[in-house]
Assembly symmetry: none
Homo-oligomer: 190 residues x 4
């Protein structure tokens, strides 16, 4: 008797996640180009061939990892989903951002690793921009509303500060004065 559709979906979903999690951890640790399909397969305890039942190739695997994580990220942004940022939401975002990096350390490490490597990043840039645009717009609207002189500059600056802090946190989380820095950033926007 063949498996039921439900059983198959369960198996497929489990394996899909297993492969993606295994690959993400390896990509984060060694970098996309330094991880071979063989390594992923053997780390996940499956055959090389099985990978290709779930993903059309190494690039596709990366894309799926990134887009899944983005989905998770965007879902946890703009708390009340009204597209408008209030001051307390911005302050809360600053707190959340570092928690998010902490909770998805591998992903964010991979993400920032890719950010400057065109050959890898182009795979993913579109999803990145789709995700980023609403955030940028919200920030600009917020800064405009709050009376800042140059909202675009403020949005760019804010994003760059968060990137810089994220990267430094990722490089050496043990020595990063996390709470102090959170306070510092929040003090700029209080």
């Amino acid at each position: 008797m063949p498996r039921t559709e439900e059983q198959l979906n369960e198996i497929r979903e489990e394996k899909r996640l297993l492969i993606m999690e295994t690959a993400l951890a390896l990509f984060a640790k060694h970098g996309f180009h330094h991880v071979s399909i063989s390594q992923i397969a053997s780390s996940a305890g499956i055959s090389k061939g099985l990978m290709y039942n779930y993903f059309s190739g190494k690039k596709d695997l990366l894309e799926k990892i990134i887009s899944d994580s983005f989905k998770h990220f965007t879902e946890n942004f703009d708390p009340n989903h009204d597209g408008v940022l209030e001051k307390h939401e911005l302050l809360q975002f600053i707190d959340n951002a570092f928690d998010m990096i902490h909770d998805n350390f591998d992903f964010w490490k991979l993400f920032y690793t890719m950010l400057l490597r065109p050959s890898v990043f182009e795979i993913v840039i579109q999803k990145y921009e789709e995700m980023l645009e609403p955030l940028y717009k919200m920030l600009m609207t917020y800064f405009e509303k709050s009376g800042y002189e140059k909202p675009h500059r403020e949005a760019v600056f804010f994003a760059a500060v968060m990137d810089g802090l994220a990267i430094n946190y990722i490089i050496d989380p043990g020595h990063f004065p996390l709470e102090d820095i959170k306070e510092k950033v929040k003090s700029l926007y209080r």
Copy 2:
């Protein structure tokens, strides 16, 4: 008439530089892993074999590029070399930093590309920290002297902000509001 020892050394040094510059430009454009030794050799107009007279391998070439550029970087830092930062020096540093990135764009692009890839960066991180430490100390001393509550936090924050801005500038220099951002950063420390 055979060349003198000195002339030979000069020729050697020229070739060495030629290879490094060629490789740096290619690495920055396509990424380290997407540039083959063959490409570097043919771009530089030399044979593959000759590369190995100057560098022990592809990794070695990368290391030499990074560490040479650091040397150049540190030599052009700390304006009056007294180890003490004045406010006007800090403000000037902010200006200079972006100029430096602009003038050595390929290097800084490559550098930030490598920043999160332990396997490669490990090799140069020590030189990087050696170079960074006096700056950190100067910064901390300055912030302390200027009455900041948490000098360490301020130094980390400042460095991270500069990293974040550098990265965003490198990703898309055409759309980066350079002058506005310089002003913004300086305004924080005026």
Copy 3:
């Protein structure tokens, strides 16, 4: 109400034929090696696994297709089954041959594709020769009876001409001057 043995056999035979027809069409269009079991199965609307209930493997499937088609071919040959060829039968055969190719285009395309590939053709060559021998004998008898000097030569020549024409017809049926060629061949034996 369970199906009778006969009904089951009928279903089995239908599936078998479905698979063979699907595969033949794909083999003819893309070539044996460019068609995967997955493609055949999905084209036929069955699972990969089921294929192996009907055929022991891809090679076996090919063999069965070829030998089944031969069976069909031989059954529709030698019009009055008396083993003797009359001139009008030979002339009719020439007409029929092209109709036969037209009606079973996929098969003959596949067949001629395989003709020169020993590793595959070996398998069916015996059946092919069994089928061909009576024809050869009839031809030789006919040519002998008709006063040709070298009946063997004539039989070989006739068969080769028909092969050559068949192949050229198959390569580009749209541009093949079919009726003209039929006339030409028949004129040689009128």
Copy 4:
């Protein structure tokens, strides 16, 4: 001291030929798709990688084999290169054709193997048509000049006859009544 240009050319030409001859023999024996690069390399006594110093891939290797052989073929056609076929030249061509097949058996076996396999033949079809067109034109002109009613039909027929004979000769050269057949064909055009 590096090798002279001449030495390098010699080495290159030798290896190129070695690889092509080895590959042709294997392709003819087992078919293009059944021969791996590894097999060719090990048959030729070289490494896999070296193949790619001489040919850009397996397809390119095939193309070069075919086009080199075509070159050889066309050079030995139309004896006095005046683009006009005389009766004695046609009769001589018939003799030569079988000699040519005999002398380049592997090539012609490979060629006819490919003729019906679109996926392989398309690699080579252009060169084939370039080579064939002048021949077709010469034939048509000849048949027209000689008072045949339908020159196009005659050219198609002639080419098909030669194909059919070639294929049958290639399948089983030992049992092919070569001289008798040559006479037969020539008698049609005397």
